[in-house]
């Protein structure tokens, strides 16, 4: 255990130096991209906001079922099968089929090549599961159909969330999927997430609908209230234009009324639709509806043909800016709920870093002093191993750009406390061996050999705990598990390569000295 080949000594040195370099690079400015890596600070250390959003997929499911009903009607009409009594109830579609065609419908729905109920070979599942009772059919999304739907609405939503967050211009936001209906948004440096929250909380479904004069519209009507809650109006269900046709939107000043408004421009299709509708509707009031609330309902004085328009509605400059931003970034497929929020102010983050570093330094000094007191020269070796251990640990965290959190710093300090254990086990064992063995080289060698399994056992148990934490924990706790886990690996390296190397040199040089340890 005491023999080191030159090559090995060399590689240990090189490895240690390179990794340690990354530790130092945290405190220096190097221009090169690869060599100027820095440890990433977690939100709890640099300050910022963590938001967990959950998509409310209920409306999407209903919407999808509604359009599926239309598809079914057309499909069965083409196949000359009479179906009736379509109802959407409890997230399922129910309909009746004429008696003679029950089997046909069954096979159409159950076919692997079904057009209307697609079959996904790799998941062995149709989009819908169905039940049949007499003439009645009941269809509901299969598990996989539901996953597919959720995934597609999550993909859309995450794109919109990204656009909105980017438009606000926070630095380096982190936007990630979580499961199949959640989005994690991390906003470093943001200590007041109020604005982002209000932007993410809006679906931003924009529609233009005429205020209905008579209640017998062919499309039906609905009663909507105004944004400010002042009154209600009956609105035609016919959607003249929706936000999908919007190309751009920005806050501007209306020179005539001296009011802040949101100007928008439409794409070609939208401009055409809008022109036609406003030509036919001169004199009527056109309601501008956002998420089911009327923002304003101006009278159409003349046809609007150019594809440019304005939305008025008692805006402040801020609210006009936000509305324009929402319209530019597009509508969310479904409402998002914020189910978890954690915000840390920047000065608390700074205090935490200071406290963390303070306790690291003090903890380190205490441990180092204690080891020196207990083992003198070998204490120095253990301490040297400890220092290189720290450099390796921080270096590896930097190299992999791991995120350092406050519990992560605690993990480093804990590593300092526990890392000496391996050297202690070895030294104690050597002391025991020396009692019965005069040749100190032999004693040292067997001290290392005999303590090896114990050290491995002891470290593996802690490593198991760290790995489980890594997979089960979130955020700051994950940071703890990373430093603890990496700390164990660097501990073993520093004990078995660095400390053992120095010990070996020392023992071989001083083999005739009495009372080595």
């Amino acid at each position: 255990m005491l023999y080191f080949s030159k090559l090995r000594v060399f590689s240990v040195l090189i490895f240690t130096l390179i990794i340690s370099y990354f530790t130092i690079s945290n405190f220096t400015n190097v221009d090169d991209e690869f060599f100027s890596k820095n440890i990433k600070l977690g939100l709890d250390l640099q300050g910022g906001s963590y938001l967990l959003l959950e998509i409310d997929n209920e409306p999407v499911i209903t919407q999808r079922l509604q359009s599926k009903v239309l598809e079914f009607k057309k499909f069965f009409k083409d196949k000359d099968i009479k179906v009736r009594n379509f109802v959407i109830e409890d997230k399922s579609i129910i309909f009746d089929v004429e008696n003679s065609k029950i089997e046909d419908v069954k096979s159409l729905l159950d076919d692997d090549k079904s057009e209307i109920n697609p079959y996904f070979q790799q998941y062995k599942s149709h989009q819908f599961n169905f039940e049949n009772m007499d003439t009645s059919f009941k269809l509901e999304f299969s598990d996989y159909g539901l996953v597919l739907l959720k995934n597609s609405s999550l993909d859309q939503a995450i794109e919109i969330v990204r656009r909105r967050v980017d438009e606000v211009g926070t630095n380096e936001p982190n936007i990630l999927k979580r499961g199949n209906d959640r989005i994690l948004v991390e906003l470093p440096g943001l200590d007041d997430p109020g604005r982002i929250k209000s932007l993410l909380g809006k679906t931003a479904n924009l529609t233009f609908q005429f205020i209905s004069s008579s209640s017998e519209e062919s499309f039906g009507t609905e009663k909507l209230s105004f944004e400010d809650g002042s009154s209600e109006a009956i609105v035609s269900k016919r959607i003249v234009l929706s936000g999908d046709n919007l190309m751009d939107a920005k806050p501007t000043m209306n020179n005539q009324t001296n009011e802040t408004v949101v100007s928008f421009s439409l794409d070609r299709v939208g401009a055409k639709k809008f022109g036609k509708a406003t030509s036919n509707g001169v004199g009527k009031r056109l309601a501008i509806v956002l998420d089911g609330k009327i923002i304003s309902a101006p009278e159409v004085r003349e046809p609007i043909i150019g594809g440019n328009g304005q939305i008025s509605g008692n805006f402040t400059f801020q609210s006009a800016t936000d509305l324009a931003l929402l319209l530019r970034s597009g509508a969310l497929p479904a409402p998002l709920n914020i189910i978890e929020e954690r915000t840390v102010g920047p000065d608390l983050g700074k205090d935490s870093i200071n406290a963390g570093i303070m306790s690291l330094i003090i903890g380190f000094i205490l441990v180092v002093a204690f080891m020196f007191y207990k083992y003198r020269f070998f204490g120095l070796i253990a301490n040297l191993a400890l220092i290189s251990n720290l450099f390796l640990l921080v270096g590896i965290l930097t190299l992999f750009e791991a995120t350092l959190t406050l519990p992560g710093i605690a993990g480093i300090i804990l590593t300092v406390g526990m890392a000496v254990d391996a050297n202690v086990l070895i030294f104690e064992r050597i002391k025991e061996e020396l009692k019965n063995e005069n040749n100190s080289i032999v004693a040292f060698d067997s001290g290392y050999t005999k303590s090896r399994t114990t050290i491995l056992d002891a470290n593996i148990t802690t490593l198991i705990a760290a790995v489980i934490l890594f997979f089960m924990g979130s955020g700051p706790i994950k940071g703890f598990s990373i430093t603890l886990g990496v700390g164990i690996l660097t501990t073993l390296f520093s004990v078995y390569f660095i400390a053992r190397l120095i010990t070996a040199y020392y023992v071989i040089k001083n083999k005739h000295k009495e009372k080595l340890i």
């Binding site: 959950e54 915000t343 303070m358 519990p407 705990a465 934490l469």
Partner: protein, 297 residues
């Protein structure tokens, strides 16, 4: 070094541990744990006030007027810092926190919200579940590991020691109503690792000695092994405790609960390696045959 007769006190300390475990369980069942917002849901605000104006009563009064459900206010570190917790969480209303801040500023003067945590009921239930799973999983993984590495008598001893440490640590948290949050789960897992580590070191020695001395009774043998590893046990727990104490004292308020749980865990872990794990070997009458038989198979 002089031999210490740990084995003389196996019985008395086992009785003590039994009492502590029962007491802890009684507290855990009847008093329960003081779950923080991570596991209970709700809102936590850490705030800093101007020196002059605020005290706990004033802050509590102004929060109570806002209809936020149960409100708890505690000093946090120094005189001007407070942690306020209440049941209501309304993170969907973007103005929720802002409004609280305005109202609070009106009644007690300038405040700075240093930290806001808002956890919905669904998330807190999930966090609690994954915390429990993590602890259960780590215990199971330790059991598996030690089962592979040692004979079943040793596994039983080690696992009993683990349960002992976890239950009593949680018991202390229950008795003093200390807050259980995510970092406590991390602490408990680390305790599990540490306690196991400590037990394994002694057990390795017991097994080695079983091979060496055929005719020494296990009662004596455990004592020899404990003594042989004693200085290591002491040195390692001292260095670990030094590091933890440094976190506890200088690491700031946020890490207080975490480091306290760890300190308790290290103390109980060291104790249980000696007084729980070893007596189990004695009562299971482990002998050289136990390990020789295993090795022959």
């Amino acid at each position: 070094m002089k031999t210490i007769y740990f084995n003389k006190f196996y019985k008395s300390f086992n009785i003590l541990s039994g009492i502590l475990i029962i007491a802890s369980l009684v507290f855990l069942v009847f008093k329960g744990l003081n779950f923080g917002v991570d596991f209970k849901g709700g809102t936590l605000i850490e705030l800093r006030t101007d020196k002059s104006s605020a005290n706990i009563t004033k802050i509590r009064d102004s929060f109570n007027q806002m209809n936020l459900g149960d409100v708890s206010v505690k000093n946090f570190g120094n005189e001007t810092d407070f942690v306020v917790k209440f049941e209501k969480q309304n993170s969907n209303d973007p103005q929720f926190i802002e409004e609280i801040k305005t109202k609070l500023s009106n009644s007690i003067g300038n405040v700075d919200f240093r930290r806001v945590e808002n956890v919905g009921p669904k998330v807190s239930a999930e966090l609690l579940r994954s915390g429990v799973i993590a602890i259960a999983l780590s215990l199971a993984a330790m059991l598996l590991y030690i089962w592979i590495r040692f004979e079943w008598q040793f596994s039983l001893g080690a696992i009993l020691a683990l349960f002992h440490d976890v239950i009593i640590t949680l018991g202390v948290f229950s008795v003093f109503s200390l807050e259980i949050n995510l970092s406590i789960v991390a602490a408990v897992l680390t305790i599990v690792g540490y306690s196991m580590n400590d037990t394994v070191v002694i057990f390795d020695r017991v097994r080695e000695n079983l091979r060496k001395y055929a005719d020494v009774k296990i009662f004596e043998l455990t004592n020899i092994s404990i003594n042989e590893t004693l200085s290591r046990t002491i040195i390692t727990s001292v260095t670990t405790l030094l590091a933890l104490l440094s976190i506890f004292i200088f690491g700031g308020e946020i890490l207080k609960g975490f480091s306290l749980a760890m300190i308790l865990g290290v103390i109980f872990g060291t104790y249980s390696s000696i007084y729980i794990a070893n007596p189990v070997l004695v009562s299971l009458k482990v002998s050289q045959r136990t390990i020789v038989k295993e090795e022959k198979e």
